[in-house]
């Protein structure tokens, strides 16, 4: 398993050809208290960088972009029921959806944790 990060502050945790996607701690902190998520339909196919989900706090709404080409195979119903999981456990219980990767090489261009940490620090 390995975790990669996008410039739009999503993470993807890769296990074989399945990636679990969520928003980073930095993203949830910037948004503030999350009150709503709109999750993709299971079975729908997206291209890399397509807007696949939406996350909203009281003050702002943001798209969650697909980190790689693929098909959504599962969404986090617990997050739909309790959007605050995106704040309290963004890298764990606050995951958004799982995607079956069409082309694992899509992930090569994404950041590793060290690169992302310094990228997010500069984003302030």
């Amino acid at each position: 398993m390995s975790i990669k990060y996008t410039p739009d502050h999503e993470w993807i945790n890769i296990d074989g050809n399945i990636g679990t996607v969520g928003i980073t701690a930095h993203a949830q902190d910037a948004l503030g208290d999350v009150v709503f998520v709109d999750l993709p339909e299971v079975g729908k196919t997206y291209a890399q960088k397509d807007a696949a989900a939406v996350v909203e706090s009281v003050k702002a709404a943001a798209d969650v972009y697909m980190p790689a080409n693929g098909e959504v195979v599962e969404v986090n119903e617990a997050l739909r029921a309790d959007p605050s999981l995106a704040n309290s456990d963004p890298l764990g219980a606050g995951w958004f959806f799982k995607v079956k990767l069409a082309n694992p090489a899509d992930l090569d261009a994404l950041m590793d944790e060290t690169s992302y940490t310094s990228y997010a620090a500069d984003a302030h």
Partner: protein, 381 residues
């Protein structure tokens, strides 16, 4: 947001905001706290249940001085200024010649002057407008040397009366001069029992040089926490109060904006001083109804699904026809439902009317409801 924070104006409380861990953002040309570490949701709920301290020093303060000041101000707004008793405060709307709203404001008859508070983003234009229109009838004196703090919430009176005994006797929309004990300092302020959250509370005008000591004395009270602009916005929206630039602007009249309650009978048709304000013919015709009626109205909207409906989202009737757009909207933290304001054709403005908001291409059913969305908690004595 690319505006460099360094190029922005700072309020006298800037260092305090930073030391409290505020996230600072550009707003109305100032660097302002949007939220503190506790977060918008906490800050909103704390203000509804205890007391919140807001820095609103970006807003404009000015005085109108002279025997003709009341009549002069009346010539600019569709509101009764002349008969306002000393010590009382009123809401007003500065109008252009088409009856459009240049700004909304609060004013107090202080006997020796009329004290006016206007929006931060509008203040330079407002002062120039007032000066140009009535500057020969009264003195128009901007007060850039003063800060403005708002203390809002059901326990605001408990906290403030500890430092300034007597404030508890004020009722909603009245004001006076008080001395606040802030540590070993005695600070002279002018304050009113009013605000923009729907809660009981006070707005306190204080010299810049004493603002930080005053804020620290208030924050030392156990009921009081600092509150940012984010919660100020969600609180005012739940209270049904319009935000200038979002919900009202120069293209909306007071009648279209559903603010006709701010026009006293004396300025309406048949009143002793009917009309006599910019755009009067159009506005009085809109009040009359019939052929001159307002074509659209600002309404409150409640989403029937738990999906936030934000500003600029399109509104459609049930046949899919475009009817307007949302001007403010969010998930109200107290009501815990998505609420919004927007303009709809007058025929669709009746309470209970169903319309759709188009969110990411999908219709979200909404109902026209009465405002405020959350009951107000003003102290009327």
């Amino acid at each position: 947001m690319t505006t460099a924070l360094e190029s922005l104006l700072k309020t006298p409380l800037n260092d305090l905001h930073v030391s409290l861990g505020a996230r600072m953002v550009p707003f109305a040309g100032y660097s302002m706290p949007v939220q503190y570490p506790a977060g918008l949701m906490f800050e909103h709920k704390h203000t509804r249940t205890a007391a919140g301290l807001f820095d609103v020093s970006h807003m404009g303060q000015l005085r109108l001085v002279g025997p003709d000041a009341g009549a002069a101000l009346e010539s600019l707004i569709p509101v009764d200024v002349i008969d306002l008793p000393v010590g009382k405060q009123r809401y007003g709307l500065l109008l252009n010649d088409e009856g459009g709203i240049i700004d909304d404001l609060m004013f107090v008859n202080r006997g020796s002057d009329i004290f006016v508070i206007v929006n931060g983003a509008c203040k330079a234009g407002d002062i120039a407008h007032i000066q140009a229109k009535i500057g020969t009838r009264c003195k128009v004196i901007p007060m850039p040397e003063r800060a403005l703090l708002a203390l809002q919430g059901p326990l605001a009176v408990t906290a403030l009366s500890r430092l300034a005994p007597g404030v508890e006797k004020l009722v909603f929309m009245t004001g006076g001069n008080f001395t606040i004990q802030a540590g070993n300092q005695r600070i002279d302020v002018f304050l009113t029992r009013s605000g923009y959250t729907g809660e009981d509370g006070f707005e306190i005008s204080v010299l810049d040089s004493q603002a930080q000591a005053l804020a620290q004395a208030l924050l030392a009270q156990p009921e009081v926490k600092p509150i940012g602009l984010g919660a100020r916005n969600s609180l005012r929206l739940e209270a049904g109060l319009p935000l200038y630039g979002n919900d009202i602007d120069t293209t909306t009249t007071p009648v279209e904006a559903s603010l006709q309650w701010a026009m006293q009978k004396v300025r309406r048709a048949g009143g002793a001083r009917a009309g006599g304000f910019p755009g009067a013919a159009k506005i009085l015709a809109q009040l009359e109804g019939g052929t001159g009626a307002a074509a659209r109205k600002r309404v409150g909207l409640l989403a029937l699904e738990r999906i936030p409906v934000r500003e600029h989202i399109e509104l459609q009737d049930l046949n899919g026809q475009h009817i307007g757009e949302v001007t403010s909207g969010l998930l109200g933290p107290t009501i815990d439902q998505p609420i919004a304001m927007g303009y709809v054709p007058t025929a669709l403005a009746a309470l209970g009317t169903r319309i759709n908001a188009i969110v990411r291409g999908k219709p979200v059913p909404m109902e026209v409801v009465a405002m405020p969305f959350v009951p107000t908690n003003y102290f009327r004595g």
